[in-house]
Symmetry: C2
Subunit: 265 residues, 2 copies
DNA sequence: AAATTAAGTTCCAAATAATGGAATAATGGT
DNA sequence: ACCATTATTCCATTATTTGGAACTTAATTT
């Protein structure tokens, strides 16, 4: 979709780790395995430096080098992620409420959190099948054109929101994608009042959603949940009706967090 | 299950990245979030050093620091892994054959590859009657007590196998877990001749499987596929009957790899 | 409430690892 | 066999990391 990092973290690109992460980003966001020369052109590092950096990443299993000398993301990342996901408290607490929402509507339900300028999907409950771990889970999507993203932005204090919007660069995915901070900000203000957000085919044509914000008291998690489906089945009127159950589910998740984590954090 | 890295890669623990990966391993393999002092004790680094290292990992989104000053795996890992998984060629090629095998048997099918001393599960197709078991895409499991693991080991040349066994430390999960290199080696030799492997409740009590080895011609992927299920439903006799279809599916996956990647690599 | 202990953070000279330009080696196409 | 492209190694220079100690903050005890 986009070949360069769309800012999942505000990470500096200096320091040994920072530079290596840029490379990891490059390779994981590419459309396929990259050869040394490809990365050389993209990274703009001297040959010797790049070669050693890639060697280190391969040695650690973060990248893999195939028989044709092409670099691909390493499988060690899967192990890290599986553990990161399996024990995530926010997800564990939200899980039953997502399932309930799916039961009530029959449509796909998502849980996502804001990280940098991206929404990372933490869970998904599909109408037809049980969760397929990485089919969608883990994917980072832009915050400005997703229901969960806009719901999350509506929770930010004005100064943080302003900072985020200032750094944001817009990609037009469909005819209705926001492409300016002004119109986006106007909608976010509305969402903050209403308490729910829509995605009117802004990320993918033919796909609509209604979302409600969710956050943990210590503000570690700022995100949202959504009901998503095809526009032909989900009229805007139906989505408006679903705003209430989505908000209720969001409320129950936050309640669950309070109970689980205790009041004084 | 085990709190220290069980060797998914042979990675050196020197160099800036190596040391940081040790920390990432520590935190992701822990049973829950760790405080600074916990990590200090586990990592054996000087305070100042550790503090900066953790700061860098947090800054890059590889770790997260919650309101109580506890470190947990970062969600950025999910994004990396989602991409690593989504475009993995081996998995993509194997997918239809796994589904077919699941259709034919009705039981859960796994695809795993050997990385270091661990099997990383790349895919899983749930059976018609899902069984609660400890398996998840991305999870690293020991090679010496899983069907896929033993099938993979049977593909290794003698010298590499000897090296791997020499470094292996055994944990007894059930009464039938291999706990010595000798008995394991004997079974692996048998598997190399027969072309399929069993897991006789060696990793999890009440869970059996039959597996067949799968590899890519360039040896980038050495792993296997398996049919897994509860012992009360899967008699050893039934598993023996399934050895043939599993091997056939394995053969078709390897054929798919040859076609997809071309013969001369 | 003050004292005590523990936990977490910052500082900076010394040790170590990363850098990058250039030379060398390997690969692949004709 | 040749040439062009691509990948790897080398090493003096440069930048980053290191780690002991001092310092700040938070928690616990007296």
């Amino acid at each position: 979709m986009n070949s360069s990092g769309d800012g999942i973290a505000q990470a500096r690109e200096t320091g040994t780790l920072g530079k290596l992460m840029v490379l990891l980003d490059l390779v994981t966001h590419a459309d396929g395995p990259l050869r040394f020369t490809d990365i050389l052109a993209l990274a703009g590092q001297p040959r010797g430096t790049l070669h050693r950096q890639l060697s280190h990443l391969v040695e650690e299993g973060l990248l893999e080098l195939d028989g044709d000398g092409r670099y691909a993301p390493g499988l060690r990342l899967l192990d890290f992620a599986a553990r990161s996901w399996a024990r995530n408290e926010f997800r564990l607490i939200a899980e039953p409420h997502l399932a309930e929402l799916q039961q009530a509507t029959g449509e796909t339900v998502h849980l996502g959190v804001l990280r940098g300028q991206s929404i990372i999907y933490l869970d998904k409950v599909d109408g037809r099948q049980p969760v397929r771990m990485y089919s969608q889970i883990g994917n980072a999507s832009p915050c400005y054109c997703t229901g969960v993203g806009k719901a999350a932005l509506s929770l930010l204090p004005a100064d943080l929101l302003a900072d985020l919007l200032a750094d944001l660069s817009f990609t037009r995915f469909t005819a209705s994608t926001h492409v300016s901070a002004e119109t986006l900000l106007a909608e976010i203000r509305e969402i903050a009042v209403e308490g729910y957000a829509f995605d009117r085919e802004e990320h993918e044509a033919g796909i609509r959603c209604v979302a409600a914000p969710v956050w943990s008291e210590d503000r570690t998690f700022i995100g949202g949940i959504s009901i998503t489906g095809p526009a032909y089945r989900l009229s805007m009127e139906l989505l408006r009706q679903w705003a209430v159950p989505v908000q209720r589910a969001a409320g129950r998740i936050m309640e669950g967090m309070r109970i689980r984590l205790g009041p004084r954090r």
